[in-house]
């Protein structure tokens, strides 16, 4: 009884926090009479969302699509790169520092270059999402592969296992928790990438919509856009967190 009550309370907590935040926000806007072109109230944002719903959803779905395509490429490249780096020590020494260096570049700085190559529009958004999200996947997969316990490897090697056997039987299964953990991070980064690219170089997508709204001083619409992005980000995160839990229960020893 006690523990199940407590569990449902834990599940309820984020909603409670959100409700409190929104209430405080709404009250402050009303009490301090903040004009809506500076900070619209949650109710005003909701009305804006209702009013512009078809437009917002149209742009949101484009953003979502670009994010998913970029993320898909990110997963493929990240996994392959991770396997490459994690299983060949020479590649590890060579590529790992370079990747770290690459990752410390603020990616926004790359968008103009990508625009130069791919032009304005969808390809740029996809490429930016990809560039932001493949790195954590590659690093995590490589780490998972490179940190296999030597004793476990010895057991298989003394059976005559080839390098490929080692990767298939212990490397990859061991890297799975690392991989799924990185998916959660990467999908959020992919969103960031898409929206950045859309604000700079696009004619559609939520990022573009917000730039438009900003130039026309339609502040509630901007906030509605932010809210939609946040909701999409959380939704995809939750989906991947769920998949992670299903796939890698052994890594947390069956604990909740």
């Amino acid at each position: 009884m006690y523990s199940s009550n407590r569990r449902s309370l834990h599940l309820l907590m984020p909603w409670l926090v959100l409700a409190v935040l929104l209430t405080v926000w709404q009250l402050s806007v009303v009490v301090f009479e903040i004009p809506s072109f500076i900070l619209p109230s949650p109710v005003a944002i909701y009305h804006a969302f209702q009013e512009y719903r078809p437009i917002i959803l149209h742009h949101a779905s484009l953003t979502m699509m670009n994010t998913m395509i970029g993320f898909g490429f990110g997963v493929i490249v990240g996994v392959l790169l991770g396997i490459f780096i994690g299983t060949i020590p020479m590649v590890y020494s060579g590529l790992y520092p370079v990747l770290i260096g690459f990752n410390s570049i603020p990616k926004v700085a790359l968008v103009p270059i990508i625009v130069l190559w791919l032009g304005i529009g969808q390809p740029t958004a996809i490429a930016t999402a990809f560039i932001l999200c493949f790195f954590p996947i590659a690093v995590n997969v490589a780490t998972g592969l490179a940190t296999v316990e030597p004793e476990v490897e010895d057991v298989l090697r003394s059976l005559g296992a080839s390098k490929i056997d080692l990767i298939r039987k212990i490397g990859l299964p061991r890297a799975m928790p690392f991989f799924f953990a990185s998916l959660k991070i990467s999908i959020t980064l992919a969103f960031v990438g898409t929206v950045i690219a859309e604000t700079i170089a696009s004619n559609d997508g939520i990022g573009y919509l917000m730039m438009q709204a900003s130039s026309q001083f339609r502040v509630p619409l901007m906030f509605a856009g932010v809210a939609v992005i946040a909701a999409l980000g959380i939704l995809t995160y939750v989906i991947f967190a769920f998949i992670e839990k299903r796939m890698t229960g052994w890594a947390i020893r069956g604990k909740k």
């Binding site: 004793e151 010895d154 003394s158 059976l159 005559g160 039987k169 890698t248």
Partner: protein
């Protein structure tokens, strides 16, 4: 009978020049089908010896031969159980035990078509070490001793020619341990694979082995060899016979002496 495993003045130094000298001038020769035990003080290089013989670690000097071939890389088809059970946490017990079948030929090629037969075999082994009913559990749901027993099954499943056991019963209580001596002896008497067993338990060595190698403190080398000429199958009764007790006593005194000498040095 011919020698199956031979070591000739083998040295092993970890970490290059100036590193830890683990073994120095180790000689051994173990016949085909023989059960050898290695005893010695902690840190004298017994686990290192296991890795040398299986080719997992290259020796610094000397020659190691297994089945007439000089060991230059990891051997194939060795059954190995390390000091700590290295079961894979993402596999259930049964598939952990069956892991060698996915690597070693000819089982590897036959596994798909004859799966049922192999599953029966794995279940049979698990039953022998009293683990029936745990086939579908993950290793981390088992106690340390249970994991060690499963580890032993994994080392045996593919009928290895050479079985290497590094303190396989270390985490077990005295009763289970003595029971497993009997189990291991039965399997060995049936299959007669060459076995090298590292242990701290002198009674275990005397119960199971044909020959016991006593190693010196680090750097380790063989300082005494004892043949155990007790008839098989040995039972717990055997362990109370004067001859058995005499062997255990002799070895105990030798090791006590080594420890004293190394402390004095």
């Amino acid at each position: 009978m011919s020698d199956f495993v031979t070591l000739e003045s083998v040295d092993l130094q970890y970490g290059g020049k100036g590193g830890v000298l683990a073994l120095s001038g180790t000689d051994m020769s173990i016949r085909k089908g023989e059960f050898a035990a290695v005893v010695g003080p902690s840190g004298c290089g017994k686990s290192s010896l296991m890795k040398l013989v299986t080719g997992l670690t290259p020796s610094t000097a000397g020659q190691i031969k297994v089945d007439g071939q000089t060991v230059s890389g990891p051997l194939k088809c060795v059954g190995m159980a390390f000091q700590n059970p290295t079961l894979l946490p993402w596999r259930k017990l049964l598939s952990n035990v069956m892991l060698p079948l996915e690597i070693v030929q000819p089982h590897r090629g036959r596994l798909m078509r004859h799966r049922q037969e192999y599953v029966e075999k794995a279940r049979g082994l698990l039953k022998m070490v009293d683990l029936q009913g745990f086939e579908e559990r993950h290793p981390w749901e088992l106690s340390g001793g249970m994991q060690q027993r499963a580890n032993l099954c994994r080392a045996l499943i593919h009928n290895p020619d050479l079985l290497m056991l590094d303190e396989p019963f270390g985490a077990l209580d005295a009763f289970t341990r003595e029971e497993l001596w009997g189990v291991l002896q039965d399997i060995w008497m049936e299959k007669r694979f060459t076995t090298i067993l590292v242990t701290h338990d002198l009674r275990e060595a005397a119960y199971l082995a044909d020959v016991i190698y006593v190693m010196s403190a680090r750097p380790g080398r063989v300082i005494a060899t004892h043949r155990v000429d007790l008839p098989r199958p040995r039972t717990l009764e055997t362990t109370f016979e004067p001859r058995f007790i005499e062997i255990v006593h002799t070895i105990r005194n030798e090791i006590a002496q080594i420890r004293e000498e190394s402390r004095a040095a």
